[in-house]
């Protein structure tokens, strides 16, 4: 009996201490999961501006924007798919390439407007096929978009013959592609516009709300009377349209288009989304985070190039960052419980 008494006296005290310490660590992790990316990005930029010679130059800022814009535009769109708990859309690769080729090739022979119309139709077809298969057939997004990637690249190369297409020098596309406002290229403004627009859609509209809920619990959301299949379809349509615009930006920037232009952008965009701290478990996620992730990756790559560090190390860095970002998220989730 007595020993129980002493224990009852002793243990809770000890326990209190441990939780106090645990509490501190927990709050730190929580905090870094919530704010981490904001701070890290800020620190990275400041540090680079101070230590990396030439980083802060106007020209270089433009280069960072050029890096960020295309993958960023894909990423803000693909955030919807990620938040819906469907991992990613691999088929952005053929989609970006297709829209780029269409923009240059079609506008060369029929003019800009027809090109945009055709590209839009194609991207809607992509969005429909992916969205219906995943949303209505409840098929796994990775596999579905893998299949549409195979098909899409096949069709693109079959139709385009794999040729590289050039727009006329000084043509509308070329001019827009090189258009700059101070250090800010048009493509960056497009990214900002897309981010603001889609950020609003995700956080402020009924659709975005339903999507977030769906990401958190599919069944409960359906039983709340939400047309979940349609929500998923919506997510894929948004991704497709973003991919199309990314294709336009790429094509305009180089005034050329070829079926290989978008290689690796699928995982590239996903990496940015994850590094931004969006949760692939559904639940937490925002366009702002995606944009930060994109900025972070672009700045980092830019720094690595400026400091003449090889391509291999760039890949290593991105890989490590992904794991790091998600580890923090996971730990936060853990202590949150």
């Amino acid at each position: 009996m007595t020993n129980i008494a002493t224990r009852q006296g002793g243990r809770p005290a000890g326990a209190k201490v441990s939780t106090h310490r645990g509490g501190q660590i927990a709050s730190v992790i929580q905090w870094s999961a919530e704010r981490g990316i904001f701070v890290v990005t800020g620190v990275l930029i400041v540090a680079a501006a101070v230590f990396v010679q030439g980083f802060a130059s106007v020209v270089n800022i433009t280069d960072v924007f050029h890096r960020a814009a295309p993958v960023g535009i894909i990423a803000v769109g693909m955030t919807f798919v990620v938040i819906s708990g469907n991992y990613l859309d691999l088929s952005v690769v053929p989609q970006v390439a297709t829209s780029a080729v269409i923009l240059i090739a079609v506008s060369n022979s029929y003019g800009l407007l027809p090109a945009i119309v055709v590209a839009t139709l194609v991207s809607l077809v992509y969005g429909l096929i992916n969205g219906v298969a995943v949303g209505y057939f409840k098929a796994n997004a990775v596999i579905v978009t893998l299949a549409t990637t195979y098909i899409g690249l096949g069709v693109l190369r079959w139709v385009s013959g794999g040729n590289i297409f050039f727009g006329p020098r000084g043509g509308t596309i070329d001019t827009l592609g090189q258009l700059k406002f101070g250090p800010v290229p048009l493509s960056a403004l497009v990214l900002v516009f897309m981010a603001v627009l889609l950020g609003f859609v995700l956080s402020r509209t009924g659709f975005g709300f339903a999507l977030r809920a769906y990401g958190s619990n599919k069944d409960a959301t359906r039983l709340a009377g939400v047309a979940t299949s349609r929500v998923v379809l919506g997510a894929f349509l948004i991704t497709s349209l973003s991919a199309m615009i990314a294709g336009f930006v790429l094509a305009a920037f180089s005034n050329t288009a070829v079926s290989t232009v978008s290689t690796g952008m699928d995982f590239g965009a996903l990496a940015a989304i994850i590094i931004g701290g969006n949760s692939v478990f559904g639940g937490r996620g925002s366009i702002l985070r995606t944009v930060l992730g994109v900025v972070f990756v672009s700045v980092l790559t830019n720094i690595l190039v400026l400091t003449d560090i090889g391509y291999g190390w760039q890949q290593v860095a991105i890989g490590v960052l992904i794991v790091l970002a998600v580890s923090i998220d996971a730990l936060a989730r853990r202590v949150g419980k």
């Binding site: 020209v59 433009t62 290989t260 190039v305 400091t307 391509y311």
Partner: protein, 327 residues
């Protein structure tokens, strides 16, 4: 439920069968038994601009020569190409045309072919010297030589003055990229050590990427410290030149060389922005691969190494008809 499943399964299987049917009938049309059966194992096809313009002349010439050609594309994956090679050997063609995805990995393929008594001709980029004896002949540009040729232009421009240059390479790990770089680097080291590389980055054969990395290299090295640029192909050099312009730098005074003489590069030479490029004719490349195959099959005499002349294109000959760009 079970029945429903069966139905669907049957339906889908029929569909699969149908696709196979359509696919094959599309291709079985051409093949006649009198023709020579030849396999061409390529690392690229319509997935790359060069391959796109390489294939038609290859197939066309083959057709003229009465060759029944089967083409594979390993997308620069040496394992896939090795497997393609096994398939080709098993298909017992009269000859195999090989474009190595990775030169150092094709020896086994060559050995198998030899064992099976199938002659192998190499196209576009040659095998390693020690593997030469396993091949019948080579036709194509010497990708190493192209790098060297481009370096020669550079050396000529530098005229012994100390020159710092930027290098924009092709896709990381890609053989052509590696050879062209090696050819260039070795040659400047040998012929004009006054030319030094200030920085290099991969441009992934893409104009956009090239423009960005060039601009970034200019920033890191400092534009004033750069007197020249070598890009491993015309698409990328176009990007590099745009990068200069975007920074308000006039490309004309800089020494800029490249490889390809494509529809993108040729005008740049004409305009004087690109000082010189090395003509690589995908048409020549493709058609010679087929011709060489035919010569061997029909026992005609043939040269063991048919090198595509590494024609240097600069302001003097840029307008000539025989260097008209092909893609």
């Amino acid at each position: 439920m079970t029945l429903r499943k069966i139905h669907l399964a049957v339906a889908s299987s029929c569909l699969a069968a149908l696709m196979i049917l359509s696919g094959c009938s599309a291709t079985n049309g051409g093949s006649g038994d009198s023709k020579h059966k030849v396999w061409a194992l390529l690392p690229q096809g319509t997935d790359q601009p060069y391959g796109t313009t390489y294939l038609p002349p290859l197939e066309e010439t083959a057709g003229k020569m009465g060759i029944d050609l089967t083409v594979t594309n390993s997308q620069y994956d040496s394992d896939t190409q090795a497997s393609d090679c096994e398939v080709a050997v098993a298909a017992r063609p009269e000859l195999i045309i090989l474009w190595p995805a990775v030169a150092s990995t094709v020896r086994p393929c060559l050995v198998r072919a030899k064992e099976a008594g199938i002659p192998v001709t190499i196209t576009n980029s040659d095998v390693l010297p020690e593997d030469k004896d396993l091949t019948s002949a080579y036709s194509g540009p010497n990708t190493y030589g192209q790098g060297a040729a481009s370096a020669t232009i550079m050396c000529g421009l530098a005229e012994g003055k100390p020159v710092k240059i930027l290098v924009v390479n092709g896709l990381t790990g890609n053989v052509t990229a590696i050879n062209r770089r090696q050819g260039f680097v070795d040659t400047i080291a040998k012929d004009c050590p006054n030319v030094t590389i200030a920085a290099e980055q991969p441009g992934d054969w893409s104009k956009g990427t090239s423009q960005t990395v060039t601009s970034e290299m200019l920033t890191s090295v400092g534009a004033k410290n750069v007197q020249g640029i070598f890009a491993a192909d015309d698409t990328m050099v176009a990007g590099a030149i745009d990068a200069l312009k975007a920074q308000g730098i006039d490309p004309k005074p800089l020494f800029i060389t490249s490889i390809g003489n494509t529809k993108l590069g040729n005008p740049l030479v004409a305009s004087g922005e690109l000082d010189g490029t090395v003509f690589q004719s995908s048409v020549w490349d493709g058609s010679h691969a087929a011709e060489l195959a035919d010569q061997i099959l029909s026992g005609k005499p043939y040269e063991k190494d048919v090198f595509m002349p590494s024609v240097i294109v600069d302001k003097n000959n840029v307008a000539d008809a025989d260097v008209a760009p092909e893609w």
